[in-house]
Amino acid sequence: MALVETQDLVKKYELGGETVRAVDGVSLSIERGEYVAIMGASGSGKSTFMNMIGCLDIPTSGIVRIDGIATSDRDGDALAELRNQKIGFVFQQFNLLARTTALDNVAVPLIYAGLGTEARREKAKAKLEEMGLGDRLDHSPAKLSGGQQQRVAIARALVTDPVILLADEPTGALDSKTSEDIMQIFESLNEQGITIIVVTHEAEIADHAKRRIEFRDGKVIEDVAVNNRQKVSS
């Protein structure tokens, strides 16, 4: 069974009296353990597609199944639970809570998972240590570099042990050296068996993935396996 599966997925918007088909009948499936890059120009529908498989946005029509669960059958709270348990998000702007320590930022999803204070701190600390931030637990985002902030965000995405990591332009706000570090982390996470879906418009970032899906005008125009890691990674 595919981990992520879509059938005839459509998302329409009304914009200035005109109907925009942001995602226009996309059917594809992503297996457990894949590393997928979703590419396309801005407005191609790649972000909308990802928001729908991330259960953040509701399709106009069509089906999304996450780990066999059809999201259209679920109400808002059930989707929140699904996001909490199965999906980790990494955003372009990190989206860390200001004036909140790295540790507390990472612990946020565990609040909604219903864990007690001690368990939250322990798990969050372990994830931050995995990300090499064991000495930055009490730092607020303002005192961390961009790369460090994104690593805190990755720790947060992984703290509930999700099966999918969804990253929307994860390196868009980082310099190329730092971007490379983040990509290394993604690769090693993928090696540990986590399914990774990255939305990007940068070819160098997409080159780290094992599969590349290209969107244009809400449709998939290319879906290919890639194997050129050696060339990109140093």
Binding site: D57, P109, G116, R156
Partner: protein, 417 residues
Amino acid sequence: MIGNIRQQASGWLVNVAIAMTALRTNLMRSILTTLGVMIGVFAVTLAVAVGSGAQVSVMQSINALGSNMALIFPQPDTGEGGRRSFDRGRLTMRDARAIEKQISGIDDIAPQLRSNIQLIVAGRNASTNAVGTTPGYGKVSNLVAENGRFISDADVRSAARVVVLGPTVARKLFGDFDPVGETIRINRAPFTVIGITESKGSSFGNDNDDIALMPISTMRQRFSGDSLAGPDDLQMLFVGFQDGISLPDAKREMTKLLRERYRVRGKDINPFTIRTTEEFMKESAQVTGIFQIVLVAIASISLLVGGIGIMNIMLVSVTERTREIGLRMALGAKRSDIRNQFLVEAAVLCVIGGAMGLILAIAGGTALTVYADFPVPIGVGVGVGAIIFSAFIGLLFGGYPAVRASRLSPIEALRTE
């Protein structure tokens, strides 16, 4: 089960922590918002306390009269309506004796005549309300001579020119000097001061100590000859009852007795009025109750304004933190989690404001008690009530913004800049 409760408790604690962080972030705004609630809670708490203070002081005043007592006046009782068969009220010494003899459970009676008198001694003078009465007065109205003695039966029999002064009158005439045994002139006749009463404070703004007591016979002879129709008439009669006697029953019996004596028939108006301390207390409780409701209603307006301030600032806070709400939803927050977060934030704001308002009210109440001699009791109940009420205000006015936050679509909230 226990684990679940602990988890929930920890969830609320997390919300309190989130709220504190958010409130610290906009410290000035939080303080100003809190100020509104503080003033509201201050006003309401003080209004409640002043109201119950009024109640306490009224009860004290009535207790100062004597706690289990009926007052009978020679005034037609027009309360019930009916035919008026008398041109004026009736109450005589003979009625008083009949009541004393025929009604059970009486402790003592105190027939009275009242008159305004001038007292003069060594160039000083004072005018006061004089009561001509019998030794029973002391017992019925809990009045004892602190110095010297009270009026005796012998004084009444012989219409002795003796007077017992209230502390206020004594101070006016003699200063700190002990007047017992001194002679004073009352309306030009010499009187001997035989005692000073114990202080009874003031009721309803009247000084209970501004009084002079003399035998009823003396009063009748010297001061109230023409104001009364008959030589045996009374202006008032206090009837003190033993503890445990039902005042409504006693009143019914006395009414029956007096109606027979005056041959009042059917629905005709009685030529006398009987009031009991119990009735006074009920009426006063009603009046002070209304007074308190009016006070609290006015004060509530300021709390309402404070609450609207809370709602306003919470709406701003929700708008400002739309992105944070979206993020929390992405990370797994349910609608109820978001709603509770903002509810707790509003409640924390209100409880802080409420606590400050309570402290202010305690300070204000203490000041009133000390400087205005008006009891303003702020008990533990009022304090706890004020805090719980503040939290309730938070939930009430924070409710709409919180629900609005919880209804945001996760993706639209996340996209907000």
